[in-house]
C-alpha cells in the first residue's frame, strides 16, 4: 500500500445497526488516536444487507472491505492500529 492510501472504515448507518448497538459508532473520528488519524478515512454506508444473514451479529462495519461483526469503537480502533502497523512493516 502506498503512503497516501488510507485505510477505509465504512460504518453502517442502517436502522437495525443503529438500534442493535451501533448508535455511537459514527462518533469514531473523535476516538481515533492522533498517530493513526491521518491514515484513516471514515465513511458511512447504507444497510449493506449483512443483517439479513441471521448468523451474523450487528452492528457492522467494514475495514478495507473486510466485514467486522459486533463492532465497537474499541474493536475498530485496535483493528485499525493493527492494519496500519502491518502496513508500515
Amino acid at each position: 500500500m502506498s503512503a497516501e492510501k488510507k485505510v477505509v472504515v465504512k460504518i453502517c448507518t442502517g436502522t437495525l445497526c443503529h438500534v442493535m448497538g451501533g448508535s455511537e459508532l459514527p462518533e469514531l473520528a473523535g476516538h481515533l488516536p492522533e498517530s493513526i488519524k491521518p491514515k484513516v478515512e471514515i465513511k458511512g454506508m447504507t444497510c449493506g444487507g449483512f443483517c439479513k444473514d441471521g448468523n451474523r451479529k450487528p452492528p457492522f462495519v467494514t475495514i478495507n472491505d473486510v466485514l467486522m461483526e459486533q463492532a465497537s469503537i474499541e474493536k475498530i480502533v485496535s483493528n485499525l492500529e493493527k492494519a496500519i502497523s502491518d502496513d508500515a512493516e
Binding site: 448507518t13 442502517g14 436502522t15 437495525l16 443503529h18 438500534v19 448497538g21 455511537e24
Partner: protein, 472 residues
C-alpha cells in the same frame, strides 16, 4: 455501565422479535420457541447452562408482555398462554417494571473483599487501620470478617498493592432513593412506596434482571382493530436517530401511526402557564417554584421530600396538554405516547388521556421489525404547531431557558441536572429555604430527557444531534 452491553442488546433483540411476531400475527405459534432459537443447545451458555439461559428469556418475555413475574401462579404456564391473555386484556396496571427473579443473580451484599493479589506484607496496614478489628491474617493472607466490618473502606485505601476491592450490588448502588433491596431469598425487590421510576436500576443491572413492561401487544391490537392510532411524540426524539426530524416522523407514520401530535405543542402551553404561575407566586411572596414536567421528580417530592410539595408548579406537563389536544383533534383515535423513560410511562397511565406508551427503544425495535430504513424515507414536514422554544424541554437547562425567555430576566434559575443522592440532599436543603434562587428546574436524568433510560443514544451526543436537528 457502558450503554452498549450484551444484556441491553438481548433486551432489544427480544423487543424486535416481539414486534415482528405481533406484526405478522404469529405470536401464539412462535413465542414459546423463541428462547430455544435464541439460545440453541450447542452454544456456549451465558449462565450455568442453556436451560437457565432459556428460562431467563422466557421470563423476560413474560415481563415484556406486561406481566409481573411475581404474578406467576403456575410454572408450567407457557408464553403463548400469557400472550393470549395479553391479547384479550382490557386494562393495564400502573406497575411499570418487574424483577425477573430467574435472571437476578443475588449479588453478594455490597462489601470489601480481599483479592488473591494480597501479598501478606509485614506492614499490614489493612489490619492496623481497621477501626473494628475486622481484618485478620491466616495462611499469610488478609481476610475480612463481614460480621464486624462496617464497610468504611479504610483497608482498601491503605493497601499498597491495591489488593482490596469494593464489590457493589449494582442495582442498589444506582438507586438514588434506596428503593431496591434483597428479600429473604437474596432476590432484589422493588419497594414501590419508595421507587420514583427513574429506571436507573434497569440500566445498572448487569444481568438485565429488571425489565420494563411494554404495551406493544396493546398497540398492535389497536392497529389490527382498524382504529386510528395517533403518536404523541416527545421532543427528545430529535436526538435519537442520526437523521433529520422529518425522516423520523416519516418512519413513525410508516410504522402504522395515523398522525403525529408533537408533545412540544403541549410544552408551549406549559411554558405560558408555568411562567404566569411563577409570576403570581413571586407576587404572593413565595421564595421559589420548581418545574413540574419531570414525573420522576414529582414522585421524588411526593415520596421523599414532602416538605417541598407546595413549591412544585401545579402547571400540567407538556404531555398532559398534548394528550388533551390529541383527544380533541382525533376524538376516536387510540393515543400512544412515544417517549424516553419509565416515569413518563407511569405518568401516562395516571393521566388517563393517553392510552399506551412506547419507549424510544421500543420504537427502534418496531422499525427494525418492520424493515423500515429511516434514512431512505422522504422527509415528512413538521406540523409547525409548536415553537422552537417548546423543543427545549428535552434537555437539562432547556426548561429554565424557556421560562426565562417567557417570564423575563428576573427569573434566577437553578438547574438540577440529574437526580442522585447528592442532588436529593441539595433539594432537601432548598426545601428548608436554603437557596437564593427563585426558580428550580429539576430533571431526573443527566442531560434531561435526551439522557432518558430508554434512549438509543446517550445524552452528550444525543444533545448535540438534537440541537443540530432543530437548527436544520
Amino acid at each position: 455501565m457502558t450503554p452498549n452491553n450484551l444484556a441491553l442488546l438481548t433486551r432489544r433483540e427480544l423487543l424486535v422479535h416481539l414486534c415482528r411476531m405481533l406484526d405478522q400475527g404469529t405470536i401464539l405459534d412462535e413465542i414459546d420457541r423463541l428462547p430455544v432459537l435464541m439460545r440453541p443447545r450447542h452454544n456456549q451458555p451465558i449462565r450455568c447452562c442453556v436451560h437457565k439461559d432459556r428460562a431467563i428469556l422466557k421470563y423476560k418475555l413474560m415481563a415484556l408482555l406486561a406481566f409481573n413475574v411475581d404474578d406467576e401462579t403456575d410454572e408450567l404456564c407457557q408464553l403463548h398462554e400469557y400472550a393470549a391473555t395479553a391479547l384479550k386484556r382490557e386494562k393495564l396496571t400502573p406497575v411499570a417494571m418487574t424483577v425477573v427473579d430467574e435472571a437476578c443473580s443475588s449479588c453478594n451484599q455490597g462489601s470489601y473483599e480481599i483479592t488473591n493479589l494480597c501479598r501478606g506484607c509485614d506492614a499490614r496496614p489493612c489490619e492496623v487501620n481497621c477501626p473494628k478489628k475486622a481484618v485478620s491474617f491466616a495462611d499469610g493472607k488478609a481476610r475480612i470478617n463481614h460480621d464486624s466490618c462496617i464497610n468504611c473502606g479504610k483497608c482498601m485505601k491503605e493497601c499498597p498493592f491495591h489488593a482490596i476491592v469494593y464489590q457493589p450490588v449494582p442495582c442498589e448502588e444506582s438507586c438514588p432513593v434506596g428503593a431496591i433491596e434483597k428479600d429473604d431469598t437474596g432476590i432484589e425487590r422493588i419497594n414501590f412506596d419508595k421507587c420514583i421510576f427513574c429506571g436507573k436500576c434497569i440500566a445498572a443491572c448487569p444481568y438485565g434482571a429488571i425489565v420494563e413492561k411494554t404495551h406493544l401487544v396493546d398497540v398492535f391490537r389497536a392497529w389490527k382493530s382498524g382504529r386510528k392510532v395517533v403518536a404523541l411524540v416527545a421532543p427528545a426524539i430529535a436526538g435519537q436517530f442520526r437523521q433529520d426530524l422529518g425522516k423520523i416522523y416519516s418512519s413513525i407514520l410508516s410504522a402504522g401511526f395515523h398522525d403525529i401530535v408533537e408533545v412540544a405543542e403541549g410544552a408551549d402551553l406549559t411554558i405560558a402557564n408555568e411562567s404566569a404561575e411563577w409570576k403570581e407566586r413571586m407576587a404572593a411572596g413565595c421564595q421559589f417554584m420548581t418545574t413540574s414536567c419531570c414525573p420522576a421528580f414529582k414522585e421524588l417530592v411526593k415520596k421523599h421530600i414532602p416538605e417541598m410539595s407546595d413549591k412544585v408548579s401545579s402547571t400540567p406537563s407538556p404531555l398532559c396538554y398534548a394528550a388533551e389536544i390529541a383527544r380533541k383533534r382525533f376524538p376516536d383515535a387510540v393515543t400512544v405516547f412515544i417517549g424516553p423513560c419509565i416515569a413518563k410511562r407511569v405518568e401516562s397511565y395516571y393521566l388517563g388521556s393517553v392510552d399506551f406508551m412506547m419507549s424510544f427503544e421500543e420504537l427502534g425495535a418496531l422499525l427494525v421489525a418492520k424493515g423500515i430504513e429511516v434514512a431512505d424515507l422522504e422527509s415528512h414536514p413538521r406540523p409547525e404547531r409548536s415553537s422552537a422554544q417548546a423543543y427545549h424541554f428535552a434537555y437539562s437547562g432547556g426548561v429554565a431557558g424557556s421560562i426565562v425567555a417567557s417570564a423575563g430576566s428576573s427569573v434566577n434559575a437553578e438547574v438540577i441536572n440529574g437526580i442522585d443522592k447528592k442532588s436529593i440532599t441539595l433539594l432537601k436543603q432548598m426545601a428548608k429555604g436554603k437557596t437564593d434562587k427563585n426558580f428550580v428546574e429539576v430533571m431526573c436524568c443527566e442531560g434531561g430527557c435526551l439522557g432518558g433510560v430508554n434512549t438509543l443514544i446517550r445524552s452528550p451526543q444525543a444533545v448535540e444531534i438534537f440541537k443540530k436537528n432543530l437548527e436544520a
